[in-house]
């Protein structure tokens, strides 16, 4: 779009990059377009058995007696494993760094079931049908003690509630509160200043509660893992994971075998969005492989995927005090997270509700109190946005309500309060991942420009607060402001290896996991920029724990910021080695005397140039270094750790049409403005924003879990759980607002998660602008919106 302001920003931040900042073709896209890239299930399945999890029919029950004799006798069944047949090493399935800040409350198999679909037993059989048949037989041969399930997070900690984790050996491996006997999976709090005084003395005090609902990531490829054992007795897992190294470590822990016996390979991944940050199938497949010594393919059905891992439903209470001019005096955020039957990511998701949302606004007094509770419902996990999605709804609708009460434009309210470059927040230092956080000052922040450009694109001045629409269909617009982070500071590590080939090309190996995001391409761009070559000269491998160097994996919005930085640093070291060889060549072969100072040599256009303009090709350098003189492998493994988590910033604007007669909400137009620093690959970055936003729109309007009174999900398929398709799409505008983050590779920071946080608050605020109802509990289904409209009309009729 033509825009003078945006052009000026582009010019201001323009750098002379050859590869970075260009929308280089995604390196695996053509293979994908031709159906040739290999995903887990596309590997050789000759002789493979099907792995199957026998699902618990009960939300809460204990196995009193189990007899697998008849199930094992079913023709075509090769193994039936119950809790008696596998080692009990409690672990977490959360694919986090060591030591994980999640409770060790999960065994490969247990005698207690904690949700419908929990793991009764594992079966290896010739076909899925046979495995399911054996599963039915097994369920007939179990004597159950059925327990009262806990199906309401609000009452999970009530005295007398069933205790879900009453096993004596569950514990959390870090020093944080954990009280499973009270169904409390985690708790955290922080406070600076006197919040009670703020609420008492402020011009405006507000106290409102908001909630978000269950949702699943719905990658089109479900969780899938192919396991086998080789002649050296090593377990090979080809698996759809975002965290190959954590998968290796946690699988070893769960099975009680050494890490060195396991090799994890991540091929192409059919989407993840956080659900594949879970080490869910690998230990199960490992157990079946070790039991049968056969190749095992385990692939979750869509119905199973829906109850594998989900977004934590969270209730957020906001209390805040404001001055008459709209400046924030202080805020308290109170979070109740439902982690479901296991505590995967319970602590960290809930802490992110505070740490990725509260620092957006300047405040001296701040308090955060959070609890995560166990219930007998599907298990929360990592999901794009990771807590920030849940609490940004609360924060940003509250800000809209405050703006109205104070008679200040919602945009202006954000402008008066949002964090600026050079500023910090008491929240950064106080809230970390199971320990104190890391203090940081904001380096780059383009939020002011995001607000201005987005308002222009949606037509804020012309449309906001005006009654528009015909008949029962009313239009409104709403907005929100957002931040996230880039990696987990002082915890995350990424490394990349680069070696040079004889033709002057390079092999780049990364532990970072491209799960469709395009990170293989972005890592190659970072290296190509430094090495003076094109992306097509870099051959990328990710990820194989035997062959590619360590990386924590694809989560916490870290891959571009951290793995990209590792690639840049590694390439700098490799370039140094190349310049040494080139200096020798200039001296010995081109007669340059004395030998030129390597630091004066420049890598460009697949050559190395001396100050006098003479050059040697990378091809010649590659041949010399491998075959001709002073032979050695030019190459390096470089690592990067993060000391900061610079937030990307974003402002979202929604225009909606609400049908007052049906309650149906239609998105007319959606504008996203995004500050991710330098977009290393602008089209891929836009794609991250668009994908996250549309997932958020779908979450806001149509995605909803329906449970029966026994805790069984009733709509575990795409016909009844509606995710957006092409027919649901509004007009979409994405504006990348450039800034330059000094700590990031080439000025970049993260982009992948933040976009999903905006639709719920922006749409809620737009619905209010259209029809005057505030909805605090997502999703905004027609029934809910209609009910709110009718209640409003009833209230007005009474007056």
């Amino acid at each position: 779009m033509a825009n003078d302001k945006l052009d000026a920003l582009d010019a201001k931040y323009a750098r002379d990059f050859k590869v970075i900042g260009h929308s280089v073709q995604k390196i695996d896209a053509m293979g994908m377009a031709c159906g040739l890239e290999e995903y887990v299930a596309d590997h050789d399945l000759t002789g493979a058995l099907v792995g199957y999890i026998v699902p618990s029919p009960h939300a809460h029950a204990r196995i009193v007696k189990i007899d697998a004799t008849r199930a094992r006798a079913v023709k075509g069944v090769h193994a039936v494993l119950t809790y008696k047949d596998v080692p009990r090493h409690l672990h977490t399935t959360a694919g986090q760094g060591y030591v994980e800040p999640s409770p060790y409350d999960t065994a490969i198999l247990d005698s207690k079931m904690r949700l419908v679909g929990d793991h009764v037993a594992l079966i290896a059989a010739d076909t899925r049908e046979i495995a399911e048949e054996a599963g039915r037989v097994l369920l007939e041969d179990i004597e159950w003690e059925v327990l009262t399930p806990v199906l309401d997070a609000d009452h999970a900690m009530d005295p007398g509630a069933s205790v879900i984790h009453d096993e004596p050996d569950a514990y959390i491996p870090i020093p944080v509160p954990y009280e499973p006997q009270k169904n409390m999976a985690s708790a955290a709090s922080m406070g600076v200043g006197d919040m009670d005084a703020v609420l008492k003395t402020s011009h405006l005090a507000i106290d409102e509660t908001y909630s978000t609902h269950y949702a699943q990531h719905c990658p089109i490829e479900t969780h899938v893992c192919l396991g086998s054992i080789d002649g050296r007795d090593r377990l090979k897992l080809i698996t759809s994971t975002q965290v190959p190294y954590h998968a290796r470590r946690i699988t070893a822990q769960a099975l009680g075998i050494p890490v060195k016996r396991i090799r994890v390979n991540k091929p192409r991944i059919g989407g993840g969005f956080g659900t594949k940050q879970e080490v869910l199938l690998e230990p199960l497949v490992g157990a079946l492989v070790l039991a049968t010594r056969r190749k095992i393919l385990m692939r979750l059905s869509r119905a199973e995927e829906f109850v594998s891992r989900v977004r934590h439903p969270i209730k957020t209470r906001m209390q805040a005090g404001f001055n008459a001019d709209g400046t924030v005096n202080g805020m308290r955020m109170e979070v109740l997270s439902n982690t479901g039957a296991y505590g995967s990511h319970a602590l960290t998701v809930m802490c992110n509700c505070g740490s990725k949302v509260l620092p957006l606004y300047r405040m001296k007094t701040v308090a955060f109190d959070a609890k995560a509770v166990y219930t007998n419902l599907p298990v929360g996990g990592a999901y794009r946005g990771y807590g920030a999605t849940q609490s940004a709804f609360a924060m940003e609708v509250m800000m809209d309500e405050v703006a109205e009460k104070l008679g200040i434009d919602p945009l202006e309210l954000r402008r008066r309060n949002h964090i600026q470059p050079g500023e910090g927040s008491p929240v950064f230092a106080a809230l970390g991942e199971g320990k104190p956080g890391v203090e940081q000052k904001i380096g780059s922040c383009g939020l002011s420009d995001c607000l201005t450009l987005g308002a222009e694109a949606i037509g804020w001045e012309e449309k906001r607060g005006k009654i528009r629409g015909t008949g029962p269909k009313k239009r409104g617009i709403g907005m929100c402001a957002l931040m996230q982070g880039s990696s987990i500071p002082e915890i995350d590590m990424a490394s990349v290896s680069i070696k040079m080939n004889d033709d002057g090309s390079f092999v780049l190996a990364a532990g970072a996991t491209d799960l469709g995001t395009g990170s293989d391409t972005v890592l190659a761009q970072a290296a190509a920029e430094i090495l003076g070559v094109e992306v097509t000269d870099i051959i990328v491998h990710s990820s194989d724990t035997d062959l590619t160097p360590f990386d924590v994996g694809a989560y916490a919005s870290s891959t571009t910021y951290l793995s990209g930085e590792a690639s840049r640093r590694t390439a700098i070291e490799v370039a140094k080695q190349i310049r040494e060889v080139a200096a020798d060549m200039f001296h010995e072969e081109k007669g340059m005397d004395p030998r030129p100072d390597p630091d004066t040599l420049v890598l460009k256009d697949k050559q190395v140039f001396a100050p006098n303009g003479e050059s040697v090709t990378l091809n010649a350098i590659g041949l010399r270094s491998l075959y001709e003189r002073d032979q050695h492998q030019i190459g390096h493994i470089g690592s990067a750790i993060s000391h900061k988590s610079p937030p990307p910033f974003s402002a979202h604007f929604a225009e909606v049409e609400v049908d007052e007669e049906t309650g149906k909400v239609r998105i007319v137009k959606y504008v996203t403005t995004m500050d991710c620093g330098t977009a290393l690959n602008p089209k891929l970055a836009e794609g991250q924003v668009e994908g996250a936003v549309v997932n958020g729109l779908s979450f806001a309007l149509t995605e909803e879990y329906l449970f029966n009174e026994k805790g069984r999900m009733q709509n575990a398929n795409f016909a009844d759980y509606k995710i957006f398709n092409t027919d649901d799409m509004p007009e979409m505008v994405t504006i990348m607002v450039p800034t330059y983050e000094e700590t990031g590779p080439f000025g970049g920071k993260s982009v992948s998660e933040i976009g999903i946080n905006g639709p719920i608050p922006a749409i809620a605020n737009a619905i209010y602008d259209a029809v005057g109802v505030r909805i605090h509990h997502a999703p905004f289904t027609p029934e809910k919106v209609l009910k709110a409209i009718q209640e409003k009309k009833a209230r007005e009729a009474k007056k």
Binding site: C34, G35, E37, G691, V693
Partner: protein
């Protein structure tokens, strides 16, 4: 059950169970570009192939139904050295992220563009509405199909 069919231009004699679905048959024949994202319910579109040029959900199509018909899978459309124009436009538009829905999406787009090289936005939306994508937000998929349509129109006018 034995029958004759044409798959990707080659006449084949098939011998399979009467109850086998087309998805499983194609995978058995090594055509792994066809993907599965739902539970044989026809609700995700990843298994889309063309039968006589018509987009067909192979996971809910009995294999014997293709007797005497022509099946086209993504492998026959083009290859990296000689991609079909629609495949190239998907790549150029960055309409592919994880790629798992791409074969089905591209085949649905082909069926549309075979009939209509000047589709409206709404016609594209309708033609692709059975193909779910969770990565891209569809924006660049619309771009790709529109660009492919324009390129096809240009090709046609150059050919005249």
């Amino acid at each position: 059950m034995k029958f004759t069919t044409t798959i990707n231009g080659l006449s084949r004699e098939i011998d399979c169970d009467a109850g086998m679905n087309l998805y499983d048959l194609l995978r058995e024949l090594g055509l792994k570009g066809v993907k599965q994202g739902c539970d044989n319910e026809g609700t995700c579109g990843a298994c889309t192939v063309l039968v006589d040029g018509v987009p067909t959900l192979s996971c809910i199509t009995p294999a014997p139904k293709i007797a005497g018909h022509e099946v086209t899978t993504i492998e026959a459309l083009g290859s990296p050295d000689k991609p079909h124009l629609i495949q190239s436009e998907f790549v150029k538009a960055t309409a592919i992220q994880c790629g798992f829905c791409s074969p089905g999406m591209i085949l649905s787009a082909k069926a549309l563009l075979d009939k209509n090289t000047n589709p409206t936005h709404e016609q594209i939306a309708e033609a692709l509405s059975g193909n779910l994508c969770r990565c891209t937000g569809y924006v660049k998929i619309f771009d790709a199909v529109k660009n492919a349509a324009a390129a096809l129109r240009k090709e046609a006018s150059n050919g005249k």
